[in-house]
């Protein structure tokens, strides 16, 4: 088997492709590209592909990662050109590289992610006011959010340890908030819940909703 790492952006209409559907979309794109995708054995074979970290439906991904296994060794440049021309609108190929077969699963490698949120302000806001609001927010000993357990029961969870950085800026009537947060199987922080917790406290004068983007995925140092 030959393993490839695909970096792509998920934007425009593709933001609304769910994580579950993404595997199917990539499988079809790879088939259209004529790539010799490797499949699992068994009753319901599925393509050997994995994604670094699920992205919430509606959130843009500026640089997302997927690993794909092929049954033949294909030059990276050939794979890039074939795949780039086979993706639906909004899935934009950034690059392909070879990944060592022994490399750990992408899921296990991703540790942190950076996000940005953008919205229109309903009334003016000074950069200093925003910086102050973020400072106060981050100074809280705990930042408690509510989550649903497997049985649908409500659970309280402190996301503070998973927030590594947060900043904001205002340019005319556009506000942008950025954050660097924990991602992965343990201690994961969802950017939406961070924003919601911040908004609850700071009462920003927004016009409409924040538009979200994951700007980067950060790998653990190994």
């Amino acid at each position: 088997m030959f393993r490839y790492r695909v970096i792509y952006a998920k934007e425009g209409p593709a933001r609304y492709i769910s994580h579950l559907d993404l595997l199917r979309v990539f499988d079809r794109a790879a088939r259209r590209a004529g790539l010799p995708v490797a499949y699992t054995q068994g009753f319901n074979p599925h393509p050997k592909m994995s994604f670094a970290a699920p992205l919430s439906v509606g959130t843009e991904g500026e640089a997302e990662f997927a690993d794909m296994e092929l049954t033949r060794d294909i030059p990276v440049a050939d794979m890039e050109s074939a795949l780039a021309g086979s993706m639906p609108q909004g899935l934009r190929l950034i690059g392909v590289s070879k990944a060592p077969e022994a490399a750990p699963a992408l899921m296990a490698m991703v540790d942190r992610a950076t996000y940005s949120a953008r919205a229109r302000l309903a009334s003016p806001l000074q950069n200093e006011e925003l910086a102050k609001a973020i400072e106060v927010f981050l100074a809280r000993p705990q930042i408690i959010v509510e989550r649903r357990g497997k049985a649908g029961e409500k659970k309280l969870y402190d996301i503070k340890p998973g927030i590594f950085a947060m900043s904001g800026s205002v340019n005319n009537d556009i506000i942008v908030i950025k954050a660097d947060i924990k991602t992965g199987s343990s201690g994961n922080v969802r950017f939406e819940e961070l924003l919601a917790a911040f908004l609850e406290e700071s009462l920003l004068p927004l016009q409409g909703r924040f538009v979200l983007a994951r700007t980067g995925l950060l790998f653990k140092r190994s």
Partner: protein
């Protein structure tokens, strides 16, 4: 953009509205004269599984002067958000409101979707009734099987297309483009379109009712308009455009596969079946065409399943050879072949065996009736021996789950026929046990629908069995079939009742639809939305009795509200078929060369076309 950023994050399954799928066509709005929206009156997942949409989408978008975009019925959560944000119903490709289009083309696939057409027009800010729309609004047109009795929708639709659309859509768009250039009024344009065979413009016909309130006649109000509109039919199914670059959804839809239509029409002549009548004559695609189209679809879509679709694929003359060739060519790339419907016989099981080398889902057979007597009445050419041979073969070949489709309330049905259903189901179950299938694994699912008399069938004169009796019949069947491994499903008798009313309805039902829409009826094909009480209230408000429509027995001599639609075969033939049904006499398959005399080939100057059956070419 407001819609993408502000609204879609708030609704369930936003991919339904996002567009951008593979093979979606985005044309430059300013460079195209004619803008057509294809409107499917159900959710995205249903509409995107419909071959007719892909066919017309391909044809219209291949014209340099026209574009076609898609729109589906938004789920109520989306509709609510759209109203809140003042977003008018829009197409997926350009996200423009329907009002900006020249033509909005609805497909009428099932009667229970009629309410959704009103729902969609309303969301688009387009007045519902044809007389309330001047030339500033798009032309609202409709086609599909339910256009063969267009009258219940006649108040809302400017123009119906009767029959197969591949050729007439181009003729129609040419006339509309010409009308636009000449600045014709809506009336002038509509009048012009009536020169196209297959086009029915209801506003040029007046309906007369008798003193007893029954339909009396429908007649043109303009002498240039034809008294009867003849259906359109494609002569050369091999050459007609077929969508080889279908839109591939990015989210899960009902049918996740490539579709190749291998034949059109069906020669079996089941007397309850409208599709079997209105899609006559049978026309098969050549084997080479199917293989060529399959190879292109595989390249262009990336799907891993190829379905050979038609009303009766196991009747396709070269079916065995074609399946073998397709499997040989594409199996190595992980593409499997599937058949959507199977005849209940050994041959079909052999075919199923061929196609289902990997995946083993359940096999479905449709004996439709429980006794040979009733199967002869409905002309379902399946014997008990056929069914048992098919089910036995299926179990021997490793299937553990078999589905059986039956209908209750068929004309002449008696208690013996109901007993026959549970007897057959039990015998199939017993076959499975004898074949050694473990008790926990063996599953026979019996799906029971209620007979709905349809226009242009031998049973068009027959009443539907009253609602209460259908419920009793369902209860009777449930009481008999309690064996382990046997599951009984029923279609909602209330849904079948409303379906029957509209299937044989007249123009007055437009009032009922208006009222039903005002009462909030929508998505009536969905059990969680269908509300019989609201429908009954709508009838009451409109002053019409649904039972009068559903339970009426017509005489052969009675004028029928769909008499002005000419399906090609003769009404006399239907009457003959009806008489033969009542006498329990079956009618042969016209495929065998013995012509039952429906009259269609002469009337439409067409002939059945069968593909060569040679194994290898």
């Amino acid at each position: 953009m407001d819609l993408m950023d502000q609204v879609l994050p708030l609704v369930r399954k936003p991919a339904r509205y996002a567009g951008g799928e593979w093979n979606a066509v985005h044309k430059n709005w300013g460079e195209v004269d004619l803008k057509v929206a294809f409107a499917f009156p159900d959710v995205y997942e249903v509409g995107m599984s419909h071959l007719g949409l892909q066919i017309l989408y391909g044809i219209v978008n291949s014209r340099p002067d026209a574009l076609m975009e898609r729109v589906f019925a938004p789920w109520p959560d989306m509709a609510e958000k759209m109203r809140e944000h003042k977003i008018s119903l829009f197409t997926l490709e350009s996200q423009r409101p329907l009002r900006d289009f020249d033509v909005v083309a609805f497909t009428l696939q099932y009667e229970l979707s009629f309410s959704n057409i009103l729902y969609m027009l309303d969301l688009a800010g387009i007045p519902l009734r044809t007389e309330s729309r001047d030339g500033e609004y798009p032309l609202i047109i409709a086609g599909g099987p339910c256009a063969f009795n267009p009258e219940p929708m006649a108040d809302f639709i400017d123009l119906f297309v009767i029959g197969e659309g591949e050729e007439v859509i181009n003729e129609l768009l040419d006339v509309i483009a010409g009308g636009k250039q000449k600045n014709l009024s809506k009336r002038e344009l509509l009048l012009k379109t009536t020169e196209i065979p297959g086009v029915y413009v209801p506003s040029f016909y007046h309906v007369h009712y008798g003193e007893d309130g029954a339909f009396f006649k429908i007649a043109p109000t303009d002498e240039s308009v034809p008294e009867r509109v003849v259906k359109r039919v494609i002569k050369d199914i091999d050459q007609v455009p077929f969508p080889l670059r279908p839109v591939v959804p990015s989210t899960e839809v009902v049918h996740e596969r490539m579709m190749i239509e291998v034949l059109r029409g069906c020669t079996r002549g089941c007397r309850f079946c409208q599709a079997g009548m209105i899609y006559r004559p049978v026309r098969e695609k050549e084997r080479g065409t199917v293989l060529r189209q399959a190879a292109e679809l595989v390249r262009n879509t990336g799907y891993d399943e190829l379905s050979l679709v038609s009303l009766s694929t196991s009747d396709y003359t070269p079916v065995q050879g074609v399946i073998k060739a397709l499997v040989d060519e594409h199996a190595a790339n992980g593409v499997s072949v599937s058949l959507p419907s199977l005849r209940a016989d050994q041959f079909s099981v052999d075919l199923a065996k061929e196609v289902q080398r990997v995946r083993r889902s359940s096999l479905t057979f449709a004996p439709e009736a429980g006794t040979q007597r009733l199967r002869d009445v409905i002309n379902k050419g399946v014997t008990e021996d056929d069914l048992m041979a098919a089910a036995g073969a299926a179990f021997r070949e490793g299937w553990r789950s078999v589905k059986l489709y039956f209908m209750i309330g068929l004309p002449t049905e008696s208690i013996e026929d109901l007993d026959g259903i549970s007897r057959l189901a039990r015998e199939v179950l017993a076959l499975g046990k004898r074949a050694g299938i473990p008790r926990g694994r063996l599953k026979v699912t019996v799906s029971v629908s209620s007979f709905v008399p349809k226009a242009h069938t031998a049973f068009q004169w027959e009443p539907q069995t009253p609602f209460g009796d259908l419920k009793e019949k369902q209860a009777y069947l449930s009481g008999m079939a309690r064996d382990r491994g046997l599951t009984l499903n029923y279609h909602d008798a209330g849904v079948s009742f409303i379906e029957a009313v509209f299937a044989r309805g007249d123009r007055r039902l437009g009032q009922v639809l208006s009222k039903a829409f005002e009462l909030g009826c929508k998505f009536d094909g969905w059990s969680e939305h269908f509300n019989l009480e609201k429908w009954l209230k709508a009838f009451k408000l409109a002053g019409l009795d649904p039972a009068w429509y559903a339970y009426r027995r017509y005489d052969y001599s009675d004028p029928l509200p769909w008499d002005h639609i000419n399906p090609g075969f003769s009404k006399r033939y239907l009457a003959l078929e009806h008489q033969r049904a009542m006498e329990g006499i079956t009618t042969g398959d016209c495929r065998t060369g013995s012509c039952p005399g429906c009259g269609l080939c002469g009337a439409l100057e067409i002939e059945p076309v069968l593909a060569g059956s040679e194994r290898d070419v």
